[in-house]
Symmetry: C2
Subunit: 194 residues, 2 copies
């Protein structure tokens, strides 16, 4: 998606250790108009899928999932890290390792909000090693629901997550795929997409 | 806001210890259409204020803030709990005690995203003891920015937060204010609002 690639070039910055900072529009400050354009594009890409629910994970996935959900006319469910006292009843749970926070989270979804009838689009802001998406797939399959696809804003194509998840036969659509990035020159190369 | 009050009566449930579960539409599964109606109402209520930014706090405030922001045509900034390695540079910080999670969080906003020129609407899903809103006010004032108001989905009117924050001269608009709730009968009484 050219609009997102251009925005990453303009406002993103490459840091050491494979970090891309896009906090001015994606995951700290949020450009809601850009998210709406991304929502339109996901709707176009997944138009043939009978999606009735969007699943994401807190925290930075929630904003994009909510804006995207408007384009599908479906509710959002966000998986929660760790158990709060407000979440009683039974839950599906999995473990997700966070690259950003360098720790492992227990992640849960209430059984009330995922069932065998659900056809789910996973939405998240980043795909790198794919641990978060793996965890969400695990939650969906625990419920007997169907994973209709994975919609990602920015994929780090030089990490293995995208390849591994596509290798499972799942459809992954990333609006921008970074092939290479250089924290010295700041240069970013995107994968060509149809 | 009648629509929200009706939804709370229909799908909310009162638990022991002053807990109201609204996780089927507000803070685990999200009804995006309802959030859009809430966004319209906040825009009506704060139409006279020169709001150029919406500030919320992760995680459950992000969805509502993003949907509401569309009605104001402004970006969202969400304050983050604890420091991640992706957040370098200087930040404003404060401490917020969470009733739900029974712990104290360090909460930060990058100095890039709040400045003395900003006129900020705080948006959050719940107002109870008001600790989260106090923290967000503290962050805004640290930046020399202006708090234009506080927009809340559900206020627990039997806790002290709303009264205390209004007592500071700030405008707080809560779309549903619970005056009393009973975890034995399940009965909920809302405060009458003009």
């Amino acid at each position: 998606m050219k609009l997102l690639e251009e925005r990453i070039r303009k406002d993103g910055s490459v840091k050491a250790g494979g970090v891309l900072k896009v906090d001015s529009f994606l995951n700290h400050q949020i450009d809601v108009d850009l998210f709406n354009e991304m929502g339109k594009e996901f709707k176009r890409l997944f138009a043939d899928r009978p999606i009735n629910k969007i699943l994401t994970i807190e925290a930075s996935g929630i904003g994009i999932a909510c804006i995207v959900a408007q384009h599908f006319g479906v509710p959002v469910v966000f998986a929660k890290k760790a158990k709060s006292i407000n979440l009683d009843g039974e839950v599906y749970s999995t473990k997700i390792e966070s690259f950003t926070h360098q720790r492992v989270y227990d992640v849960i979804v209430s059984k009330k909000f995922l069932s065998a009838d659900d056809h789910v689009l996973i939405v998240d802001d980043f795909l790198a090693n794919g641990c978060a998406v793996d965890g969400l797939i695990d939650l969906i399959r625990s419920a007997g629901a169907t994973v209709e696809g994975v919609g990602i804003a920015i994929e780090k194509g030089f990490q293995e997550g995208g390849k591994r998840i596509r290798g499972k036969g799942l459809r992954v659509e990333s609006l921008a795929i970074i092939e290479q990035m250089d924290d010295v020159t700041g240069e970013i190369t995107f994968r060509e997409q149809a």
